[in-house]
Subunit: 154 residues, 2 copies
């Protein structure tokens, strides 16, 4: 199966979570006009403690062999290198339900609690991401493996 | 008064909060080795809801005329443009207590709940930051104004 990329925007991604980008509709001027705050682009939704980490993603084959999900917390990814990247999400853990989003380098996203997704997919060498998720001290990972790989077309 | 910049590192900043950078001591290999997770660089400490926003900081005069603090929540800043920036923090709201940190473009930081600080200071044109702080529905801002400006020396 081949999965075709679609552009990332808030409406298309809404079943899976939130897009984190400088949306003009959210802009508030603060700090005497020296800062624009693009406000509340996502709300962390973590049972227990919310933590900040950096993920350094490396290039891997563009195919999906498994999906995972975190039943106890949302997980937000914000690219720090400014490079485009990819996200695979699904409302049920099967190839036919997968969607592939092409994210710009200025677009992060938050995957909602319990939504199936593939681990980090970068395109242009290693890229760091700021990650906001749950400090895991419980069973916060489920995985499903596919029989046949899904190829990704960008 | 002139305040001289000091380099940002975890030990120097520890009275005020946490540095968010890819510290090798925190590294964990995940995603079959395709991702390095620099784990738990900071824990959000917000009464109520923790939200994600983007702040777009613009260049302003390099002087401090006021400090602010947020008694109900931590506030983390991660630069998205890769450019150096500045932070002024203080344990008490007076010029003599101020410290000026020169942050690299790959260093973010979290200002601990209740720590006095100056609003965002960028150096090289506008820069966006991912901000993780409290969804404010209460009185989460205190300000103190100085009689004489503190000049910043970088």
């Amino acid at each position: 199966m081949i999965l075709q990329a679609e552009p990332l925007n808030a409406a298309a991604f809404s079943p899976f979570g939130a897009v984190i980008g400088a949306d003009p509709a959210t802009a508030i001027e603060i700090n005497e006009g020296f800062t624009t705050r693009f406000h509340r682009l996502a709300a962390a939704d973590c049972d227990g403690k919310t933590i900040l980490s950096i993920f350094r993603g490396r290039v891997r084959p563009l195919q999906v062999l498994m999906l995972e999900r975190h039943p106890l917390g949302s997980q937000a990814f914000m690219p720090l290198g400014g490079h485009p990247w990819l996200t695979v999400v699904a409302l049920s853990p099967e190839p036919a339900a997968c969607r592939l989003f092409a994210c710009r380098g200025d677009q992060g996203l938050q995957i909602a609690k319990g939504v199936w997704h593939h681990p980090l997919l970068v395109l242009e060498g290693a890229q760091d991401f700021l990650v906001v998720d749950r400090d895991s001290d419980g069973d916060n990972l489920e995985e499903v493996f596919f029989e046949n790989p899904v190829s990704l077309a960008v």
